[in-house]
């Protein structure tokens, strides 16, 4: 069973999907997120691309699974329970779905993004201030490069 992200909030430029990796949460622009999927059978085959751990078959698409937890939280990454499916763009102009393993349910919010301040990882495009929490907004394309 999957949860499509299709509420009116999604249309706003300030709409983000918050996803958890252990105790920390991160955000993706809602416009890039397709769905949150329950654990599905991930399949693997030999390859040499970093961060990719396998593929899923979703609605007839072959979706690569990109374990971004290795970049975002490193050794603290707990077991992933869901797959957040988001659109990833490539330099060639192509776009395809990518599955990001996450550790819990996601949340759709509307909040203005604050600009980057101070030394932040390469893949962080801005920050969200939600209550007492500062959440990093990540760029999926830069995240998938595996640089920190």
């Amino acid at each position: 069973m999957s949860t499509p992200v299709t509420t009116p909030l999604r249309a706003s430029k300030d709409a983000y999907v918050l996803f958890p990796l252990g105790k920390k949460r991160f955000a993706l622009p809602a416009s890039t997120v397709t769905e949150l999927a329950r654990p599905d059978k991930m399949q693997n085959f030999p390859h040499t691309t970093p961060l990719l751990t396998g593929v899923l078959v979703r609605r007839g698409h072959i979706v690569p699974v990109c374990d971004v937890a290795q970049v975002l939280v490193r050794p603290d990454a707990p077991a992933r329970k869901f797959y957040l499916i988001a659109a990833r763009k490539f330099e060639s102009g192509a776009s395809e779905w990518t599955a990001l393993p996450v550790t819990g349910e996601c949340e759709l919010i509307n909040a203005p993004m604050l600009p980057r301040t101070g030394p932040l990882p390469y893949h962080v495009t801005g920050l969200l201030s939600i209550g007492n929490e500062i959440i990093e907004v990540v760029n999926l394309e830069k995240l998938a490069e595996g640089r920190s």
Binding site: F45, P46, H47, T48, T49, V55, V57, I62, C66, A94
Partner: protein, 176 residues
Amino acid sequence: MRFFKKEQRKRRGNREDVILFAVGPHTFAIGAKAVEKIENMEELRPIQFVTALPKLAKVKHSLDHTGKTYFVVDASTHLLMPPSHPTRVLLLRGSSIAVAVDSIDRIVEISAIHPLPHAFIGEERGWYRGVALIQDAVVPVVNSESFLSAADLKLLRAAFAKSLHPAKQMAGAVSA
């Protein structure tokens, strides 16, 4: 008759017969037309000279078949997998290359080969033609031309010929 054959080709579309084989825990496919014959391992001879060609360490044996010498690529080494236990050899059509695999499963007809997702950017882009969906399983379809390049074959043939005639090399050295 020509119209009938054209219609048959249209219906067949992208359908292709592939041979499913296993290497370690993974299943792969290779176009059936790319394989001339499947042999067992009995006639394989170990190749000694590859220690001088470390980049060709995946070629561990040679096989003589119908007057031709095949260079046998170990599939698990080629695919950067842990060593496995090959029991079958695929002789590739129109080349001097054979591939040692663990087992042969069956021949199936696939309706399409899906491109490898753009996210894959490593050596697998050369290893595979794409992936096939076979009964919900994602099976990589190997590129039969990826096992050895023309340059690799040239190196192998030269080293193989040298290894067969060491006495000539020695005589040449003495007379010089």
